[in-house]
């Protein structure tokens, strides 16, 4: 267990900004192990950017890096991201 670990709730504002809506109740399917978790429950690590990891297998699901005028998003660790209609 990493004491620096947070969860998806901690980056709800950033995710809202990127996806234009509430994302912590969206469900993400891991491209590595196939398990599905709500975004609020995935593991989050922050340093220069934000990394979302699968709570089942620790695979990197997504990476977010903010630059001066851009937010760069890598979603290659997600097979599916499904958000309830809002």
């Amino acid at each position: 267990m990493d004491a620096f670990m947070l969860d998806g709730n901690a980056v709800a504002g950033l995710l809202h900004e990127v996806f234009g809506g509430e994302m912590t109740t969206a469900s993400g399917t891991c491209a590595n192990c196939g398990s599905t978790a709500q975004v609020g429950a995935v593991h989050v690590f922050r340093s220069a950017g934000v990394v979302l990891r699968c709570p089942s297998c620790d695979n990197v699901l997504a990476k977010f890096v903010e630059r001066r005028t851009q937010i760069c998003v890598d979603l290659s660790g997600l097979r599916l991201l499904a958000r309830p209609e809002q």
């Binding site: 267990m1 990493d2 004491a3 620096f4 670990m5 947070l6 969860d7 998806g8 709730n9 901690a10 709800a12 504002g13 809202h16 900004e17 234009g20 809506g21 509430e22 912590t24 109740t25 709500q38 975004v39 609020g40 429950a41 922050r46 809002q86």
Partner: protein, 248 residues
């Protein structure tokens, strides 16, 4: 069209500090007036942004402590000594000052009256804040839903909302404290970290399928969630929110 384009957008708003309440030596509640506040669901949070004169910005998330009530939003903030944001919020801000925030944010760690019960809330330190919003909403509605709070603090003086919790307890709400570091003389309550035995005694049992909300520092949340799963609680019914050890 403009309305559609704005739908779902999260914008920074200026809120005004209308009141400051000392909860304990390290914790204060900021009551804010947020014009155009759309209302919130208990368990949601806001992002607060501070901008220095040179343009440097720092952003932090704070749970909303109050039940929905017009434009008034209360945040309970613990001062972290090396924090960039919290010392400003708790030591510098005065009523009348303005603050940038956006929200409400989040939908995962949310309990509403319609969610129903039984409910088990487990809070560690200032992790009690979003749980208090749930307790306040229940009280404001005069609900008698079975709701149990297990609240871990280091000492009796560290307990946030102590008097209000005492006042609200009863009629389906139980409040159980555990004091992990020191206890007042004559203390008969728990005096250890939350464990499986304590969770079983506080209940509700896994068979009653309670909605469970756990909020606190990451190691606290991990330990409590693992103990709950070991007792047969369904992982899907255990909602967690973790605080980092740094940053505030």
């Amino acid at each position: 069209m403009e309305g559609a384009a704005l739908l779902g957008r999260l914008t920074w708003e200026l809120a005004e500090v209308v009141d400051l309440v000392v909860e304990n030596p390290r914790v204060k509640t900021l009551a804010l007036d947020v014009p155009e506040w759309p209302g919130h669901r208990t368990g949601q949070h806001v992002d607060v942004r501070l901008t220095a004169e040179d343009g440097y910005q720092a952003e932090r998330s704070y749970s909303i402590a109050s039940a929905p009530s017009g434009n008034r939003v209360e945040l309970t903030v613990e001062t972290l000594e090396d924090g960039e944001v919290s010392p400003y919020l708790t030591d510098v801000l005065r009523p009348g000052d303005k603050l940038e925030l956006r929200g409400p944010i989040g939908g995962y760690f949310v309990w509403e009256l319609a969610t129903g019960g039984p409910v088990l809330l487990v809070g560690g330190g200032s992790g009690v804040v979003p749980l208090m919003a749930m307790i306040r909403e229940r009280a404001a509605a005069g609900s008698d839903v079975d709701l149990r709070l297990l609240y871990s603090s280091r000492t009796w003086d560290d307990v946030i909302y102590r008097d209000e919790l005492e006042r609200l307890a009863g009629g389906g709400l139980t409040v159980t404290h555990t004091l992990t570091r020191s206890q007042p003389e004559g203390w008969t309550g728990y005096s250890r970290r939350v464990d499986g035995e304590m969770l079983a005694e506080v209940g509700p049992a896994a068979a009653d399928r309670p909605h469970v909300y756990v909020c606190g520092p990451t190691p606290f949340v991990e330990a409590v969630a693992a103990a709950l799963v070991a007792q047969g609680h369904e992982p899907q019914r255990i909602k967690t929110e973790r605080f980092g050890p740094t940053g505030g």
